[in-house]
């Protein structure tokens, strides 16, 4: 079983965090840009508490992942770190990911906050095309999407999942997909 170490830090800090991870034996990682959401819906509507973030993912076996995560936590870089994987009795958190149409991320966050979430990270993405997709001058038209990621304690996660699944707009226009992953370790860095 491979674990995924998921670290979310301020933009520009992933490189230093990766250096720390390498010292503990990590082979490599993948980084992408993301946006951190505000802690309250009012602040989100006003748009003044977003933050620019980076998401770092490292894959490792179950024993190494703890070692690497430990080293990363001591690096002094602010952010949050989660180890996604299965370990009986340790899975106290859940990574909830919602893939929705672009523009609907904040609606998902608003509903999630009402159900108890404090924050999330939003990543830009796009759908994939199939052979039958409509093409426009040679390129298939694929929808722009957002992925909302939240690491939550299990009971909060169930409430959030229920709330998001009940959001009508996501089913019709948001065309959202929700899935969860078990998280066996979670820590706020620094």
């Amino acid at each position: 079983m491979t674990d995924m170490i998921l670290a979310i830090v301020k933009r520009g800090r992933a490189r230093d965090l990766m250096k720390a991870a390498r010292e503990a034996g990590a082979g490599g990682g993948t980084v992408n840009y993301a946006r951190g959401t505000a802690s309250s819906t009012i602040l989100a509507a006003l748009g003044i508490a977003d933050s620019r973030r980076e998401v770092l993912r490292i894959f490792a076996g179950p024993d190494e992942s703890r070692k690497i995560a430990g080293r990363m936590e001591k690096s002094g870089i602010k952010g949050s770190l989660a180890i996604c994987g299965k370990e009986d009795g340790m899975e106290n958190w859940t990574l909830v990911e919602v893939i929705c149409e672009e523009g609907f991320g904040e609606e998902v966050m608003a509903v999630a906050r009402r159900a108890g979430a404090t924050g999330g990270t939003v990543v830009s993405a796009h759908g994939t095309s199939t052979e039958d997709d409509v093409k426009f001058f040679g390129s298939p038209l694929v929808p722009e999407k957002e992925i909302v990621m939240m690491v939550l304690e299990n009971d909060v996660a169930s409430a959030v999942v229920q709330a998001v699944e009940g959001l009508e707009v996501l089913k019709q226009k948001g065309r959202a997909v929700l899935f969860t992953l078990p998280v066996k370790h979670f820590a706020n860095l620094a």
């Binding site: 989100a44 509507a45 748009g47 003044i48 523009g103 609907f104 001058f137 040679g138 038209l141």
Partner: protein, 482 residues
């Protein structure tokens, strides 16, 4: 956007020019205590305004621009997209403050071109070329080819025009793409560019072409009018308005600038965007911030900056032309660091290149470019030679470099030219040149037209050189990996 972090970054950007201007003015005895206080107040307003403006752009203007671009693409009709971009380019250019100011200066300076006609020509130029830039992305025309063809036509036409109109034409190219329309044009273009996902080059170039259009339009206008400009009398010095008065007049000026954008956004939202409530709240907040931010920014800039710049120009000129040039270089470097649209562009470049081209690198390149541009323009002002001596070698080098520059950098290069010529450069560097030129009676203020043109030209050259360096380094890295 993290407001505090934004504030810190903006303060760092504006500090250099504030400190430099203050130190020089006090050294040369140009300012008394009261004027120094006004200047400090101006700087504070500039910092506050920029912070709020950039926040607004980030959460309001950029998202809505790119969604409109994406929605236009989904219409799957080339003619709809071209018509929409032509209309949008035209509508957003007319109320641009810089365009209005340039047109007034030109009609006062003579040449027989009424300002409304000039504005219409400029706006049409932007509209047509914005449409061309969208067509380029959809039809996958290579950017270098489009640029080369456009500039060949420009230089052929320029050959037949009077020196005055050539300066004005290149100035208007820089004047158009202002702090409000640049983010929108860029975002809309990027929204369309999502169609070409594997093509980095498609993300940039919209500002570049949109600011090329007016150059062509003005040259055509000049030829039609038989451009024969009589010597210019300097624009009359109006009494300096009080701070409150200035603020109120900016409220309406910028409001006029924003009204078309707001109308477009409302129409789009009602008819085809249909964003959910939270998004619309954020976009609305963003537009409000952008409005307030730009009003405060312009108030600060026009309150004291221009006057300080003009007096500094005169003082430095009488001290020694070399001092003027050195100071001009330093000012050029500092001014570009605080240009609103530059800050937007560098962020976009960093995001689009996934961090390979950092903001600092881009900023340093642009700063150097503008510094050199100011020196060249000041030398021309002091010595009074024709702008051709600068334009021809400059653009010649640009097109030679284009052979080796990667396509992506060519687009970014020409974008940075349009972006560097913003409110900071036209309210500080242009008066600096005018102050210096006041001593040169032979050419009068006509010699100071062309400063904007230089500021639009040099960053292009330097960014292309950056591209060549980048290409060299990436090929070395790839060779090492093999």
């Amino acid at each position: 956007m993290d407001l505090l972090k934004q504030f810190r970054e903006v303060s760092l950007s504006v500090m250099p020019i504030a400190v430099l201007a203050l130190v020089l003015s006090l050294l040369l005895g140009v300012m008394d205590f009261g004027e120094a206080m006004s200047f400090v107040l101006s700087c504070l307003l500039v910092i506050a305004g920029l912070t709020v403006f950039l926040t607004g752009v980030d959460i309001g203007i950029m998202p809505v621009g790119s969604r409109i671009g994406a929605a236009l693409t989904r219409s799957r009709s080339l003619s709809v997209m071209l018509l929409a971009s032509l209309l949008l380019g035209f509508i957003f250019t007319i109320p641009e403050p810089d365009v209005q100011v340039l047109a007034t200066q030109v009609s006062q300076a003579g040449g027989g071109v009424p300002s409304t006609l000039l504005i219409a020509a400029i706006a049409l130029g932007v509209g047509v070329f914005f449409a061309i830039s969208i067509a380029r992305t959809i039809l996958s025309w290579p950017m270098k080819l489009v640029l080369a063809v456009s500039y060949i036509i420009i230089f052929i036409l320029a050959f037949f025009c009077d020196d005055f109109f050539v300066s004005v034409a290149f100035d208007s190219g820089g004047a158009t793409t202002g702090p409000l329309s640049v983010p929108f044009i860029m975002a809309l273009g990027m929204g369309v560019a999502n169609l070409r996902k594997h093509n980095d080059e498609a993300e940039f170039g919209y500002v570049a072409l949109s600011s090329t259009g007016p150059v062509l339009a003005v040259l055509v206008l000049a030829l039609v009018f038989g451009g024969d400009a009589s010597a210019a009398a300097a624009g009359a010095q109006t009494a300096a308005p009080g701070l409150g008065q200035l603020f109120v007049s900016k409220l309406s000026e910028v409001g006029l600038s924003l009204l078309p954008m707001v109308a477009v956004v409302i129409v789009c939202q009602l008819f085809f965007l249909r964003l959910p409530r939270m998004e619309i709240l954020r976009v609305a907040s963003g537009i409000v911030y952008a409005y307030v931010g730009i009003v405060v920014f312009f108030t600060g800039v026009e309150y004291s900056f221009s006057d300080v710049a003009r007096e500094l120009g005169g003082a430095l000129m009488s001290l020694h032309p070399v001092c003027l040039c050195i100071a001009g270089f330093l000012f050029g470097v500092c001014v570009v660091l605080a240009e609103p649209a530059v800050l937007v562009l560098t962020e976009q470049v960093e995001t689009a290149s996934s961090g390979r081209i950092s903001r600092k690198t881009m900023l340093a390149t642009l700063a150097l470019g503008v510094g050199l541009a100011v020196v060249l323009a000041l030398v021309r002002t002091v010595m009074g030679f024709s702008i051709w001596y600068l334009l021809l070698p400059g653009y010649g080098l640009i097109f030679i470099c284009m052979i080796w520059t990667p396509g992506l950098f060519s687009s970014i290069a020409f974008d940075s030219g349009g972006v560097a010529t913003g409110p900071m450069s036209s309210t500080f560097l242009l008066p600096l040149a005018m102050g210096a030129a006041a001593g040169n009676e032979a050419m009068g203020s006509a010699a100071s037209f062309g400063m904007i043109a230089m500021i639009a030209m040099m960053p292009i050259l330097l960014t292309e050189l950056l591209g060549i360096v980048y290409r060299f380094k990436t090929s070395k890295a790839e060779a090492r990996n093999d």
